[in-house]
Subunit: 307 residues, 2 copies
């Protein structure tokens, strides 16, 4: 097993200034798996859905090479549902509804065959469940990446800190980095957070790109300036999926390779926001991915020779 | 004459979360000239001060190679004064006082010897005065860069649009680009603004870097993540000064050279914010500038080979 992914598989209903959707499929693990599938086909997803989750969406995931042996289907229950409305700036949103449904009683079970993954992606979820997945593994993965959010800092900080202390890479946004560290300066915030356990911190800044920190180095990845951000839902998860997918493909966890992985992750996120939900992330051609990455290269390339 | 600089030379009193100053020297043209002085010593400044402006500060500017023949000194008047207080995020501020003093009656006169500059930097000032300076030149400079702010969009939009239509490069921040264009997407905003006349638009995003647009290309320059932003006053002016100073030094106004110029401008801005006022921008060693530029190179460098 190359990549084990844990997180929600869910329904979303989204309103943006450009329109609104009925229930469409979403969830952190869905975006992560789809984005990662462009880099490795050896992915196993651990999650839970209700009997209402469309069989054709599961088939779509399988067609992307995602193994669903770790996906529990509770036929008589309903899938996790989130509904939100984005403001005009597309950076802020109101949650209109959160129905936990099957997630409330979720007890993740990693199939026996997947308990020695090389890479583990812990998508946004209750920290105790993320921790439970780690505890089921027979040996430590080469790399564990954890994504989380402010909600868990507000409601389960101690459990979150315990989980964070055991991972290699933490991905959070700038406001969350400030909240978790109590530092306004992102440089200071990063150093404090790296003292909590992770060797690497990725701070996601949405349209302003992302920062990659270890204790000695920092890398700034831009975001592609887009004509329209149609729906930001899943951008962070797609970023994480592209990031860990590229690392799993190349089997190189050096800082230099993480720089490349962040560019691939940013490219996947830039697709996601172009349409509602996972629509743009399904069935991309390799050419499209390469062209998008080339746009990132062109965007930041400059040539200065200091004498 | 290589570079003609127009803008305010003034007093500021600044409060930040880190401390406060009495009246210290500031003004757009002061920061621009100092930043540019690290790249070219053929600079003439056109502005006005009162008799209260310290002679040693004028001497400091001269020591940086800035020709003050275009600086009017109104012995019986007071210099322009601005006072402001920055919020904790250092991105927003309240203006506590604005005393126009000598600026109210300022009639810029470019000395005869400086009426054929290769480069013209129109620092933030009433658009009518920026226009007046252009009208005094005997021939069109190789490049005219204009910096302005939302205040003139609110109070003198028509005059500003007329002035903008005659320049080559416009520098504004992201909120101003949105205001001027009526577009939220910066990509769309840039295309609309480029239709107003300038060939190149620079959108300054503070701690999030800067975007360089022409009609076909876009470049994203990062900002250096800093431990502390001590005082943001003059960062945009220092950026503009480094930008045009580098262009004046290299005499190359291609898009590729503008990318380099933005990195040098960003480096100068990163010094300015490290201390109050111009303190950090005075008497830098060439080594310090080069090291800072190298930090920018290291910050964004990655190496992806697409097959």
């Amino acid at each position: 097993m190359s990549l084990l992914v844990v997180g929600t598989v869910a329904f979303d209903a989204i309103e943006t200034p450009f329109g609104k959707t009925d229930k469409i499929i979403g969830g952190a693990a869905t975006y992560i798996s789809l984005a990662a599938s462009y880099f490795t086909k050896d992915i196993l997803l651990t999650s839970v859905v209700g009997g209402d989750f469309p069989k054709e969406s599961l088939e779509m995931l399988r067609n992307h090479g995602v193994n669903l042996d770790g996906l529990q289907i509770k036929e008589n229950e309903k899938s996790f549902f989130w509904s939100g409305r984005y403001h005009n700036d597309m950076n802020t949103r109101d949650t209109l509804a959160t129905e936990l449904n099957v997630i409330a009683g979720f007890d993740p079970i990693v199939p026996e065959s997947a308990r020695e993954p090389d890479f583990l992606m812990l998508g946004n979820l209750m920290p105790s469940l993320q921790h439970k997945v780690m505890a089921q593994l027979r040996k430590r993965p080469k790399l564990i990446v954890l994504d989380t959010m402010n909600f868990w800092m507000d409601t389960a900080l101690e459990e979150l800190q315990k989980t964070i202390s055991q991972v290699d890479v933490l991905t959070i946004n700038d406001a969350e980095a400030r909240q978790l560290s109590g530092e306004y300066s992102l440089v200071k915030a990063a150093q404090k957070i790296l003292e909590m356990g992770p060797k690497v911190l990725i701070i996601k800044k949405g349209e302003h790109g992302a920062l990659l920190f270890n204790r000695e180095q920092v890398f700034y990845a831009p975001a592609l300036p887009l004509e329209d951000v149609f729906d930001p839902t899943g951008a962070g998860d797609s970023f994480a999926g592209g990031f860990i997918g590229y690392l799993a493909q190349t089997k190189d966890i050096s800082f230099d390779n993480m720089k490349r992985a962040i560019i691939f992750g940013s490219a996947m996120a830039s697709f996601t926001v172009e349409k509602f939900g996972v629509e743009r992330l399904v069935g991309l051609a390799q050419d499209e991915v390469d062209e998008r990455v080339q746009e990132f290269i062109d965007l930041v390339q400059f040539d200065i020779s200091l004498v």
